[in-house]
Amino acid sequence: MITLHEVSKTYTVSKELTVPAVRNVTLDVARGEFVVITGRSGSGKTTLLSLVAGLTRPTSGRVLLDNVDVWRLPDAEQSLLRNRKVGFVFQFPSLLPTLNSLDNVMLPTLFADNADPAQAKQRATHLLEQMGLSDKLHAYPRQLSGGQQQRVVIARALMNEPQLLLADEPTSDLDETTEHEIMGLFREIHQQTGVTVLLVTHSAELGSYGTRSIQMAGGEIVAS
């Protein structure tokens, strides 16, 4: 499903200063895997996830999603691929503050061609109910707890029935109980839908939730 071939990413801060975030990474992730990428802050985990998703252009190397070189696609096709195939859960609060839960979950359909609004609403409602938020359909992000917000984000990530779910530190702002609840939810989604999951976390302890664990340090994969 995912192939990274000798991928490197270097950020240019100024003419004199460049920061290598990912160094020469080669990685294959098969369809249906639940890969947990662990590593300390600054180890290149988030950049690796962005490279997989086509959110940042690699300095060198190739990123293939279902054998399609993501960075050879024009912007419109790349966006369509993200919209149809990839679901995102971010580390930071990523709900649009001016939209309620239902509208936030339906947001990806706004960018899809030929989305049926009635069907989208039905699916968004169903997903929120699955997340235990049936009473929060019309609540705004500010009216939700951190855990509830992250559940809405997960529902949004699943809206277009993606083949790949990318999660960047999805539990970093949550307390321990909620953290395990959310991780359990990821495992449940993976088991029920068979979606490929790539989850980044700084907590080595959470590696046990996946079917495979990768450790990064200094922009390289040090253990797999």
Partner: protein, 397 residues
């Protein structure tokens, strides 16, 4: 959910910034409309007044040119007399095609025998007239009979009087001329015979006798031949008749025209400053807005929004504010100019004509389009920059 709903909800979410751009748009549109209304209103007023005169040259007794201009512009009655022999003398000047005399009168102030105080009255000679004739033929199927009159756009028959009383004589108002915004709108036109009838009856019906000196006229309207230069004809009249002043209508209201020109310069300068400030402020506001919403933009890109969709969504926000603010600014500016037009006339010393609905609607739409383009251009600079950024970079900052 549609993109427009997302744009509206984003605008509602940052009300202070939205109000600022709304205010800038209103200001920009308001200045365009008010500036254009004032300049165009003054200019078209003068142009219509000149068209109404319908002559190439107006000959008045020497030293009365300024008084006539004031009378025509502001409707302040002017009395001037010269022997009626000048009419034939003028006709005899080479290049003169037609010459028609007029007599200038006015109603009395505070007298029951006159419906309207101090109204400028213009009596014309129906046998030689060429200025009112085309209008009369078109609108009244012929000329005015005895005791009939036509008035400027502001002349009406007072309800309590039932007729227009001029020195006690009842006149029937047969028609109303189109508005010019000048003193002609408050003036009334009738034939020489009606003027003499009023004068004759005034000794019995009015508190004061209307005195028209025998065998005199107030002015002579001159039309020159097809290939004649009005300036040369005016010089020839002045040379032949030293006691009169021939006024070329093309150079009438020169003072007012210069005033309009200087006003136009001020308006253009003010517009330039307002637009520069408005667009600059809009750029800054949108730069701040997109900077604060970089993450949100990154998230939208990650969820599959194409670069053009992000661009469209943010420009839609700018466009909505420009339209809403623009409409508000246009409405307020037009209403203010309409309500305060007497003040504008007084302050500027030039006549003013408020346009009809269609030209006003055209101006409003034009101003709205200008503001829309201006705001979109101003907002586009930061919006394009952020939309070109890698989503991952947007989300990191």
């Amino acid at each position: 959910m549609k993109l427009i709903r997302l744009a509206i909800s984003n605008l509602a979410g940052s009300s202070f910034r939205s109000w600022l751009v709304f205010f800038c748009s209103a200001l920009m549109a308001g200045f365009v409309v008010s500036g254009t209304l004032v300049i165009r209103g003054a200019d078209s007023s003068l142009r219509l007044a000149l068209e109404r005169l319908g002559a190439d040259i107006i000959v008045v007794p020497k030293g009365n040119s300024q008084r006539l201009e004031t009378a025509l512009l502001m409707g302040i009655p002017a009395h001037m007399w010269m022997p009626d022999t000048v009419v034939d003398d003028i006709r005899a000047v080479s290049g003169v095609e037609a010459a028609s005399p007029q007599i200038y009168l006015s109603t009395l102030r505070g007298a029951v025998c006159c419906s309207v105080p101090e109204m400028f009255l213009i009596a014309y000679d129906p046998d030689t007239d060429f200025t009112l004739k085309p209008w009369l033929e078109k609108n009244l199927e012929g000329g005015l009979a005895l005791a009939e009159a036509v008035g400027g756009s502001l002349v009406f028959v007072p309800v309590q009087d039932g007729a227009l009383l001029v020195y006690g004589t009842s006149l029937e108002l047969k028609g109303t001329l189109e508005a010019t915004g000048t003193g002609l709108d408050q003036s009334m036109f009738f034939t020489f015979d009606t003027a003499f009838k009023i004068a004759e009856e005034s000794s019995d019906l009015a508190v004061k006798v209307l005195d028209i000196p025998p065998r005199t006229v107030s002015s002579v309207l001159v039309r020159v031949g097809m290939d004649q230069d009005p300036h040369q004809v005016a010089l020839a009249i002045a040379e032949k008749l030293p006691n009169v002043t021939p006024m070329e209508t093309s150079s009438l209201f020169q003072g007012q025209r210069e005033q309009i020109l200087s006003l136009l310069n001020s308006v253009v300068a003010l517009l330039g400053i307002t637009w520069l400030l408005g667009m600059g402020l809009t750029t800054v506001i949108f730069a701040l807005a997109v900077n604060q919403r970089r993450r949100q933009i990154g998230v939208m890109r990650a969820l599959g929004a194409r670069r053009t969709v992000v661009l469209q969504s943010l420009l839609m926000e700018a466009g909505l504010l420009a339209i809403a603010g623009g409409i508000q600014g246009i409405a307020i500016a037009a209403l203010a100019i309409y309500l305060f037009r007497p003040l504008i006339v007084r302050l500027m010393g030039v006549p003013f004509l408020f346009p009809g609905f269609l030209p006003l609607a055209g101006l409003g739409l034009g101003a709205l389009a200008l503001v829309l383009v201006g705001v979109l251009l101003a907002a586009a600079i930061p919006i394009v920059r952020v939309s070109l950024q890698d989503p991952a970079i947007s989300m990191r900052e």
